[in-house]
Subunit: 358 residues, 2 copies
């Protein structure tokens, strides 16, 4: 039997509920494929702030760092919204991303046939959308120096953030994106703002240079403003998108909303070596926390990504994906994706239904 | 009789066609309100590159600078796409914005009742959308220093762009936005990424501080990734949005696509004193240039913004707006907004129909 250490970071709001459900699904799918898991659960975000006064306690980080893969719930909540920046729950995400060096953030945006009506886009526009956004996650304007608020020579406050990419940072995320596109429909669209930003000029140059190593992948380039439009005009044109940290933040959220079911969307953040970080893309939803209303499917599908991308266990991953499709096909829906004619269930019951199908 | 000097910068692609139509409409609406215009037409962008080798010739800039208001067509085209950055047509826009100091870019995104079906969003989501995006246009990452591509200590190329805002730059665009919201439905949403970017932390602080001077305006804040989602989920929630240069670039294009008719949308770029720059938000559409297929309404409506915001001539502006609505109500449509049951017309004929109604 193979054994893996899994760090569970439930976090805040609905995080604990969805993690507890996803854990069960992960365990069953794994054991059917001969995998055994040792789970270690640790506080991060607001939960950690309340417990020990910092968003990312060292013990939590060490457990995550020493695991084979990390499953995270959600982070943040109104309660800590007025905290100073370094004492905000979101800082846990920064430290995790930065210190685990998970530079490659994979965010699928898929419209499931069962849920094609959920989008605010017309059905014929949304139906069949199936893209993967590859977002650079440990560089760019999120981490660039200089940064901060200072006083200029006129005695005036000035806020500065620096968008900066070195060639190797662009190359490694581009490689992940080319490899991803190769395993999908072979189309890669690199999104930048090379008509304005020098950081994007280098981005485009490096991505273009790598294309010759992937002759089976069709590379195109698009400006970010146009991409924001094209996602709405015709989202089906996209297969794989690669972009920087901040554009990826914006476009992946836009793409997820196009699917109409952000309660369904998982994500994976991968490093060159070391554990990956897997989490639903939705937030902590403090307004429904503890009420057994959350949709656990995004976290369950994140567990599937953990198996596939984190542990290389594709079969177990497939079991989970199929089980989710099956539960949906049998008509089970949480409130966020409910439509008349289906069966409205809570977080736990949705988990049970998926578990049955694993 | 009042006389005004108007600089016409037709630019590239469909620019000349739409400008020539809009000029006639402007002239008629003005003369009915006792206004006389002296037009001076000058090359910019690719047209100027072909003529004199630079995208923004000094004579063109001087004419623009000395005018009372500037009407611009469109800039750019495949032909110059491989040019080096400083020889690209788009540089004309940079120089114009920077040197005219037009820091306030107003971009309405409105779904006209006659065109509610044009959006890829469901009709009930798109119908009634009526927002104004106030984009900061002369600062931020578009102009910040340091910028460029250099070699780091490892001999590796590094691309750098700097997002930088001084307090007074934030204050002046925020004031324009508060004033704009006050004349609309009294709601202002400031979009930033204050959970990550220090430049946004200062942005939020300054906007918040100004709110007390506008007690009649309801101010809210939203992160840019969430804004990109909310524009799709429920665009009607927005009245006035204020944001920085790069987020404004992305979100205003996203918002324009939500209306489904970017051939309809005008824009105004205003300075503290000196002429404003008025232009359609669509591009130069080289694929249909010279074929009398372009939709001139965005440029005609830009002429209306020129009258209203540039010259303070609200009555003449209203004449143009009403004439556009009238031509639409009479069923005239260019190809981009055509739907069965309407009358398909070209650029010139659409212009004639508007002219009739002025
Ligand atoms: C919470 C926030 C700091 C974070 C980000 O901007 O990266 C989030 O929006 C995300 O996309 O994971
Ligand atoms: C052409 C380009 C440089 C420009 C910009 O990014 O500002 C355009 O997208 C716009 O929004 O006017």
């Amino acid at each position: 039997k193979k054994r893996f250490n899994i760090a569970l970071l439930p976090g805040d709001g609905i995080g604990p509920e969805v993690i507890s459900v996803a854990k069960n699904v992960l365990q069953k799918a794994g054991s059917l494929e001969g995998l055994e898991f040792d789970f270690q659960e640790m506080p991060v975000g607001g939960a950690a702030l309340d417990l020990v006064g910092v968003p990312m306690p060292e013990e939590s980080f060490t457990a995550a760092k020493n695991s084979d893969a990390i499953l995270l719930g959600a982070i943040g909540g109104y309660k800590w919204d007025k905290n100073e920046k370094h004492l905000r729950p979101e800082m846990a995400l920064f430290y995790l991303r930065r210190d685990l060096k998970v530079f490659a953030n994979l965010r699928p945006a898929t419209v499931l046939p069962q849920l094609a009506d959920a989008s605010t886009l017309k059905k014929e526009v949304a139906e069949g959308v199936d893209m993967m956004i590859v977002r650079e996650l440990t560089g760019g304007i999120y981490f660039g120096e200089p940064r901060g608020i200072s006083i200029n020579e006129n005695g005036e406050e000035v806020g500065i953030s620096t968008e900066i990419y070195a060639a190797h940072e662009i190359d490694r995320i581009a490689r992940v994106a080319f490899e991803t596109a190769r395993k999908r429909r072979g189309k890669l669209c690199s999104v930048d703002k090379a008509n304005v930003l020098d950081a994007s000029v280098l981005w485009r140059k490096r991505v273009t240079a790598l294309a010759s190593e992937y002759p089976d992948v069709e590379l195109s380039h698009m400006y970010v403003d146009n991409a924001a439009m094209q996602l709405i005009r015709d989202p089906k044109q996209f297969d794989t998108i690669v972009t920087n940290n901040i554009f990826g933040d914006i476009l992946s959220d836009e793409a997820s909303m196009i699917t109409g079911s952000i309660g369904m969307l998982p994500s994976a953040s991968l490093s060159e070596s070391g554990p990956g970080l897997f989490e639903p893309i939705h937030g902590s939803a403090p307004d429904i926390a503890g009420q057994d209303k959350a949709n656990p499917l995004a976290t369950i599908l994140s567990a599937a990504m953990l198996l596939k991308y984190g542990l290389g266990e594709e079969k177990a991953a497939k079991r989970i994906e199929d089980a989710v499709m099956d539960a949906l096909s049998r008509g089970f829906r949480t409130g966020d994706i409910y439509s008349p004619g289906n069966k409205l269930v809570g977080c736990k019951e949705m988990g049970e239904e998926v578990l049955k199908s694993v």
